[in-house]
């Protein structure tokens, strides 16, 4: 049995992290590390699952069979992402049922972006392009996260995300090069989603008190503001290519920084949405709750079927 005291264990733990040795489920880890990861991974899982709703809204109304098949495949992938992540969180001792109940009671958080409505077909394009695009920016560094199961889940997720972004960008560019009305629809969608997409990277670094510890533990590999800047820098060119205008009059190339300067984010709006007062928070949580309640009979039936199959096997 190990007789090391907590300081020794913590020192050894940090030494492993510093040497880029991954932490695996049964390894000793500080309680703070476990809690931070459980919160982050479960919030991430909830975001994948709630994220199915705004797009699920358009599956029956996709403009062609091809678009419908693509959207269906994308939404199914998001369900898969949620499952990889719940499993990763379970390796830390997360109680999955309880965590889902916390989502349904409003105690657990998920990405603020999914509390905005999807009003037109163009939103399916913009979500893939910007929302999945921002998610990729966030998730690529997480593939190198110090916690093995989370990093491995992220590798799978990132492989699948690139199709999400491309199919979205394809929708946007077709609309942007279509009729005047179609182009207007794409522009309107970009106008509505641009700022919420920037908020996906979280508060400014000065207002992100736990970031330093997460970076020290290599749970996070880049800061919120670094990732946001990176996202803006690549996306502006893409918008220009398809002839759409980023809705920010302060957006300007800064030669000295080699990056775009951009306007101020409405953090008051961000905080309101996080606190549950976004346009669709209630609708999203209601939909999740209904899905769980209305699906109870399916879970029971599966249990009953498993029982029956087991009995049959025993009598053979």
């Amino acid at each position: 049995m190990s007789t090391k005291n907590i300081e020794e264990l913590e020192r050894e733990f940090q030494a492993k992290i510093d040497a880029d040795i991954k932490i695996e489920p049964n390894d000793w880890m500080p309680e703070g590390y476990r809690k931070t990861l459980m919160r982050q991974i479960s919030q991430h899982a909830h975001s994948e699952i709630v994220g199915m709703l705004p797009e699920g809204n358009w599956i029956t109304r996709a403009p062609s069979l091809k678009r419908k098949a693509v959207l269906l495949a994308k939404v199914q992938d998001e369900a898969g992402h949620g499952l990889y992540l719940y499993s990763a969180a379970e390796t830390l001792g997360l109680d999955r049922e309880k965590s889902i109940d916390d989502l349904h009671s409003g105690k657990a958080k998920y990405s603020s972006i999914f509390n905005y409505p999807t009003l037109t077909w163009a939103d399916m394009g913009t979500i893939g392009w910007l929302v999945d695009g921002a998610a990729i920016m966030n998730q690529v560094p997480l593939c190198r996260c110090s916690y093995g199961p989370y990093a491995r889940a992220m590798v799978r997720v990132c492989k699948e995300e690139s199709f999400h972004q491309r199919q979205g960008f394809e929708i946007v560019s077709l609309l942007a090069n279509g009729t005047a009305e179609q182009k207007q629809m794409a522009q309107d969608s970009l106008n509505r989603f641009w700022w919420p997409a920037l908020m996906m990277f979280g508060p400014n670094d000065d207002n992100s008190p736990n970031s330093a510890q997460s970076i020290k533990w290599k749970i996070k590999r880049s800061s919120n503001d670094e990732l946001r800047q990176q996202f803006i820098d690549v996306t502006v060119t893409q918008a220009e290519m398809v002839g759409l205008t980023i809705p920010d009059k302060d957006l300007k190339w800064n030669e000295a920084r080699g990056s775009y300067d951009f306007g101020t984010i409405n953090w008051e709006e961000f905080n309101q949405v996080i606190q549950g007062n976004g346009p669709c928070n209630k609708e999203r949580i209601d939909a999740r709750r209904n899905a769980k309640e209305n699906g109870a009979w399916v879970r029971e039936a599966a249990n009953a079927f498993a029982e029956k199959r087991k009995k049959k096997e025993l009598t053979h």
């Binding site: 898969g80 990889y84 199961p149 599966a302 498993a306 087991k310």
Partner: protein, 95 residues
């Protein structure tokens, strides 16, 4: 209403003939057959597999990471088990 939670299963996938099954993650399902069906949807949506094994997570016995230094020491100290331990004189080939 029954609130019996489905057990957790570890999922192993053979990606192609000639390779061994490899652990890819876990999922919950009511029984082994349903775990296989779910694993197909969760882990092989892009032809990642041609064969799936599932095993209930609670049946896995693992070595203790806290003892791994002592436990794996016998192989650490036997460097003569590796071909690089031996000198092969210049001019000798096919060895």
């Amino acid at each position: 209403m029954s609130s019996k939670e489905w057990p957790l299963w570890e999922i192993f996938i053979r990606s192609k003939q000639g390779l061994s099954h490899k652990h890819v993650g876990s999922l919950r399902a009511a029984d082994a057959q349903m775990a296989i069906d779910n694993a197909r949807d969760v882990y092989t949506r892009r032809s990642e597999g041609i064969s799936i094994w599932v095993i209930e997570s609670k049946l896995v016995t693992a070595s203790d990471p806290d003892e791994s230094a002592e436990f794996f020491e016998p192989s650490e100290s036997k460097i003569y088990r590796h071909p690089t331990f031996y000198n092969v004189p210049d001019g000798i080939s096919h060895m």
